[in-house]
C-alpha cells in the first residue's frame, strides 16, 4: 500500500480517468450528446475534454440545452442574442429596434486561444487516430443528431416566418426582406443569364421592392476600393494572396455563420472588434460574403440556412447602400470529397443551392466561384490545391478574375 502511494502519477491517472469517465458517461445523452464517440475505441472522458474546448464544462448550467440554444439563437431573430443592434443611422426607418442589453456572449476567449489560430488541422487525421474506424461512427452519430434537431426545426422555422421576418416588415421593407423561398427560386434561376435592363432604379433602395433585376458587367480593380470581404479561411487566403490591397477584409480561420456576430475577429486600426462594430463604423458599396464550410457537421442544413439568411439580412441593414454578394461555398477536391463523410461536394452543393435562393438580383447576388476552379465533374481541380480545401497562394488570381466579371454598376 505504501508502495502504491508512492506511485503518484499512476494514482492521478486512475482517479482522473474514473472521475472524468463518470462525468462523460452521465452526460452522454445530454451535455455531450452531440459529440460522436464509440466506446469501443474511445474512453468516455473524451467528450468531456472536447466539451471543455467548446466551453461546455461538466458543471455548466442547463447543459442539455446548449446545442439547441445555439441554433435557436438564430431562429429567434431580433430577440435572440444574435439579433440586431440599433445603430443610430440605421434605426431611423424602423421602429426602435431591440436594444442589445443582453450582451452577446463573448466566445472570443475561446477562439483566441493558441489552438484557435493554428490553422488547418487536417493533419490530425493522420497524426492521431488515423486508423480509428470512427469515421463511420461519426456519420451515423451525426445523422442521429441531425434527426434530432430535424424534429424541432420545422416548428422553429414556422415561428421564424411569423415573428422574425414580419418584425422587419413592419419597418417598411416590404416582402423583399422576407425572401420567401418560392419567390426567390424563380428569381435565382435567371440570375446569371437573364439580360435584365441595367437601369436598376437609380440608387439601390432597399425599400423599393419593385426595382428591376440587375446583371453583371466586367469591372477593373478599382471596383474593390469600397468592397468588404467577409468569410472564413478561404477569404483569409484571398486577403493574403489576391493582391487586392484596396479592399477591406473581415475574415477569420474557422469562422462560421454561428459565431460571426459574436467573435471579435475584425481588425480595425490594430484592434479586434466584432463584425457589427466594424460594419457600423464604415459603409461599403459591396459586401462579399463566403461562409459555410465550417458549419458542415454542425446542426442541420435548415438551421444553417436560417442563420445564413439572418446574417444576410443583418448585412443589408448594416450596409443599406451596398450590393451584397452571397458567394457559393468553394468545393473541395475529389480525393477529399470522396473520402470525407461530412466535408464533401454533395453537402456543399446542397448548401449552395439554398444560398442561391437568397439572391434577388437586385441587392443580393449569388456568384459561384466553382464555375472557374472546378473540373467538369464539379470537384476542385487538383492542381489548384495542396490540401484539397484551399487554393494555393498563386491560384487566388483565378478567383479575382472571376470577381472582376461580376461587377454590379
Amino acid at each position: 500500500m505504501k508502495k502504491l502511494l508512492r506511485c503518484r502519477v499512476t494514482l492521478f491517472l486512475l482517479f482522473g480517468w474514473v472521475a472524468l469517465s463518470v462525468a462523460g458517461y452521465l452526460g452522454k445523452d445530454s451535455r455531450y450528446k452531440n459529440y460522436t464517440m464509440d466506446a469501443r475505441y474511445t474512453p468516455y472522458f473524451v467528450p468531456v475534454l472536447q466539451g471543455i474546448h467548446d466551453g461546455i464544462f461538466p458543471w455548466s448550467s442547463e447543459p442539455s440545452e446548449f446545442w439547441e440554444q445555439w441554433e435557436q439563437r438564430w431562429q429567434k431573430g431580433p430577440e435572440g442574442s444574435g439579433g440586431f443592434v440599433a445603430g443610430t443611422e440605421l434605426s431611423e426607418d424602423r421602429e426602435t429596434s431591440v436594444a442589445q442589453g443582453n450582451g452577446t456572449p463573448s466566445s472570443g476567449a475561446d477562439a483566441g486561444s493558441l489552438d484557435g489560430n493554428t490553422g488547418i488541422p487536417d493533419t490530425t487525421e493522420s497524426a492521431g487516430a488515423g486508423d480509428m474506424p470512427a469515421g463511420g461512427n461519426g456519420t451515423s452519430g451525426t445523422a442521429a443528431s441531425g434527426e434530432d434537431a430535424g424534429e424541432t426545426l420545422p416548428r422553429q422555422n414556422e415561428a421564424d416566418g411569423e415573428t422574425g421576418i414580419p418584425s422587419d416588415g413592419a419597418g417598411g421593407q416590404g416582402g423583399e426582406a422576407g425572401l420567401p423561398a418560392g419567390e426567390n427560386g424563380g428569381g435565382t434561376g435567371g440570375n446569371a443569364s437573364e439580360g435584365a435592363p441595367e437601369d436598376g432604379s437609380g440608387e439601390t433602395q432597399p425599400t423599393a421592392g419593385e426595382a428591376a433585376p440587375k446583371s453583371f458587367t466586367d469591372v477593373d480593380e478599382s471596383y474593390f476600393d469600397d468592397a468588404v470581404f467577409i468569410g472564413d479561411s478561404r477569404t483569409v487566403g484571398l486577403h493574403d494572396y489576391s493582391g487586392l490591397d484596396n479592399a477591406t477584409f473581415y475574415a477569420s480561420v474557422g469562422l462560421s455563420v454561428y459565431d460571426m456576430w459574436t467573435d471579435a475577429f475584425c481588425e480595425v486600426d490594430g484592434k479586434k472588434i466584432t463584425l457589427e462594430e466594424a460594419l457600423l463604423a464604415r459603409q461599403f458599396k459591396k459586401v462579399y460574403f463566403q461562409i459555410g464550410i465550417n458549419e458542415m457537421g454542425r446542426g442541420t442544413v435548415d438551421g444553417f440556412i436560417t442563420a445564413y439568411s439572418q446574417s444576410v439580412q443583418k448585412l443589408k441593414e448594416l450596409q443599406p447602400d451596398a450590393v451584397i454578394y452571397v458567394q457559393a461555398i468553394m468545393r473541395v477536391a475529389k480525393e477529399k470529397s470522396d473520402s470525407d463523410p461530412i466535408f464533401n461536394n454533395k453537402g456543399i452543393n446542397e448548401r449552395n443551392a439554398r444560398i442561391a435562393q437568397l439572391a434577388d438580383s437586385r441587392t443580393v447576388f449569388y456568384i459561384d466561384v466553382n464555375e472557374v476552379v472546378c473540373d467538369p465533374e464539379g470537384n476542385l481541380r487538383d492542381e489548384l490545391t495542396f490540401d484539397n480545401l484551399h487554393l494555393l497562394g498563386s491560384k487566388y488570381d483565378i478567383w479575382v478574375s472571376f470577381l472582376k466579371t461580376k461587377g454590379i454598376l
Binding site: 508502495k3 474511445t42 475534454l49 474546448h53 484557435g116 492521431g128
Partner: protein, 450 residues
C-alpha cells in the same frame, strides 16, 4: 494503432497490461508475443503473416547455424547466414524498392534490421542462437518498438527476456516516460507541424523567405519531437513491461557539428550501421580515402533506408558532404568557438531536413530559391508579411520547441522527479496530452477550422 491514440492508450494497453501482470512469470513472454501480434494485426492485418514468417525463418536459420556451441565458423555457417540475410533483405527490397508491392508492411524497415542484427550476432558467435521460438518472437515483435523502433540489439534484452522483474515502481517510472513522450508528440510536434502543413497549402512559390525559414525550423522541430516522442513512449512502455529499451535521441539539436548531431539523433540506427556496415568495411583504420568510401556506403544506405525517393539521395549526399568537410577541416575550425558550432548546426540541419521533407525535386528547388531568394526568382503572389501572421500564432510553439531541444528541462526534471514538483509537472503534462489528443481526434465537430 499508433501510441498517440485513445484506442491504444485506453483500450489496448489496459487490457493487455491486465493479462500481462496477472499471468505467471513463465507465461509473460507468451502474453507479450500474443499481445504484440494483436497490436500489429490491428494496424496491418494483411502482413501479419509476413512478420510471423520472418521470426520463424530466422529462428530456424539461427538454430541450424550452430549445433554445438564450440563449433567453429565454417562454410555451413556462412551459407546459412547468407541465405538468412538474402531472405530478410530480399523481402525488404521487394516491398520497399522494387515497386512491385503496393504498400510497405508496417514496421518492416525496423524489424528487418533488428532480426538481421540477431542473425549476424549468432554467426559471429556473440550470442548463442535463441532456443525458444516464443522468446525470439517476443524479442522481435515486442509492441513498444515494433513499428518505429528503437532498434534493439538482441544482446541488450537477452537477459530480460529470460528473467525480468516487473514492479510497481517501474510501472510508475515507465508511465511517466510514456506521458512525457506523448507530450512531445501531441503538445509540440503535431501542433507545430500545422505550420508546415500551412506552408504546403499556400504553395512554396508563394511564401516569403522569412516564412520559408520558419517552415524549415518548424519541420525540423516537428520531426524531432514526433520521432523522439515516439521513442520515449517506447522506452516508457518497455519499462512498464520490465525491459530496458535504449535511448534513441540525446538532444541532437544541442550539438555543435553534423557529426555530433548524427551521434545523438536516432542513435540505435546509427549504431546499427556502425556495427554491421562501417566497421566490417574497415571503418576509419584504412586511410582517409577508404574512410570516405566507407562513409559514402553508410550514408547511401542510410538514405535508402529512409525512403526510395530521389530526394532522399540528395539528403544523404548533402549529409555526406557535410560530414566529409567536417572530417577534413571544418571540425577543427568549429571547435575554436562554442557559439559558432551551434549556429552552424542550426543553419545546416534544417536545410537537410527540407531535402528530406520535400519529395518532389522541382518543388525542392522552388523551396531553396525561397530560402535563398538571391539564387533565382520563382515567386508568384508572395505575401511579403506572411511571416508576421504566422509568427504571431506560432511563436509559443517555437519557444516551447527550442526550450525542450536543450538538455536543461530534463536536468531540472531529474532533480525534482522524486518531489511533488516533479509529480505535478508530469500530471499537468498528462492533462494537456489528453486534452490535445481529444480535440484532435477524429471528430466532425472539431476538425473543421477552415
Amino acid at each position: 494503432m499508433v501510441f498517440s491514440s485513445f484506442e491504444f492508450l485506453f483500450r489496448f494497453l489496459p487490457v493487455f497490461l491486465f493479462f500481462y501482470y496477472t499471468a505467471p512469470k513463465n507465461w509473460k513472454n507468451f502474453i507479450l508475443f500474443a499481445g504484440s501480434i494483436v497490436f500489429y494485426t490491428a494496424g496491418e492485418a494483411e502482413y501479419v503473416l509476413l512478420l510471423f514468417v520472418c521470426v520463424l525463418v530466422n529462428y530456424l536459420f539461427g538454430r541450424f547455424m550452430y549445433v554445438n556451441i564450440d563449433e567453429g565458423r565454417g562454410v555451413k555457417q556462412t551459407v546459412l547466414l547468407t541465405l538468412a540475410l538474402c531472405y530478410d533483405f530480399g523481402v525488404l527490397f521487394y516491398f520497399k524498392y522494387s515497386g512491385l508491392a503496393g504498400r510497405l508492411p508496417l514496421g518492416i524497415s525496423f524489424y528487418t534490421f533488428q532480426i538481421a542484427a540477431y542473425i549476424i550476432d549468432v554467426y559471429r558467435g556473440k550470442v548463442p542462437a535463441e532456443k525458444s521460438f516464443i522468446r525470439l518472437g517476443t524479442y522481435l515483435t515486442m509492441f513498444p518498438q515494433l513499428i518505429a523502433g528503437p532498434i534493439i540489439n538482441y544482446l541488450t534484452v537477452r537477459v530480460s527476456l529470460k528473467n525480468r522483474a516487473v514492479t510497481l515502481a517501474q510501472f510508475e517510472e515507465g508511465l511517466r516516460t510514456l506521458i512525457l513522450g506523448l507530450g512531445a508528440k501531441v503538445i509540440i510536434a503535431d501542433r507545430i507541424g500545422l505550420l508546415w502543413n500551412n506552408i504546403q497549402s499556400i504553395g512554396f512559390e508563394s511564401i516569403s523567405p522569412q516564412l520559408a525559414w520558419m517552415g524549415a525550423f518548424a519541420y525540423s522541430l516537428e520531426l524531432y519531437f514526433d520521432f523522439a516522442g515516439y521513442s520515449m513512449m517506447a522506452m516508457g512502455l518497455g519499462r512498464m513491461l520490465g525491459f530496458e529499451i535504449p535511448v534513441n535521441f540525446r538532444h541532437p539539436y544541442a550539438s555543435r557539428s553534423v557529426s555530433e548531431f548524427w551521434r545523438r539523433w536516432h542513435i540505435t540506427l546509427g549504431k546499427w550501421f556502425r556495427e554491421y556496415v562501417y566497421i566490417p568495411l574497415g571503418g576509419n583504420r584504412r586511410g582517409k580515402g577508404r574512410t570516405f568510401i566507407n562513409l559514402a556506403v553508410v550514408w547511401s544506405l542510410t538514405a535508402l533506408w529512409h525512403g526510395a525517393d530521389c530526394n532522399f539521395l540528395i539528403w544523404g549526399a548533402s549529409l555526406l558532404v557535410l560530414l566529409g568537410l567536417e572530417k577534413l577541416f571544418l571540425l577543427r575550425f568549429l571547435e575554436k568557438s562554442r557559439i559558432l558550432g551551434h549556429v552552424y548546426l542550426l543553419f545546416v540541419v534544417p536545410l537537410t531536413w527540407v531535402a528530406f521533407a520535400v519529395t518532389d525535386i522541382g518543388q525542392l528547388g522552388v523551396y531553396f530559391t525561397r530560402l535563398f531568394p538571391f539564387f533565382g526568382e520563382t515567386a508568384a503572389m508572395v505575401n511579403r508579411l506572411d511571416y508576421v501572421k504566422y509568427m504571431n500564432s506560432y511563436w509559443p510553439l517555437f519557444l516551447l520547441g527550442a526550450v525542450f531541444s536543450t538538455p536543461y528541462p530534463v536536468r531540472i526534471y531529474e532533480a525534482v522527479k522524486k518531489k511533488w514538483a516533479g509529480t505535478i509537472a508530469v500530471a499537468l503534462i498528462l492533462v494537456l496530452d489528453l486534452y490535445y489528443l481529444a480535440i484532435s481526434t477524429n471528430n466532425p465537430f472539431m476538425y473543421f477550422n477552415f
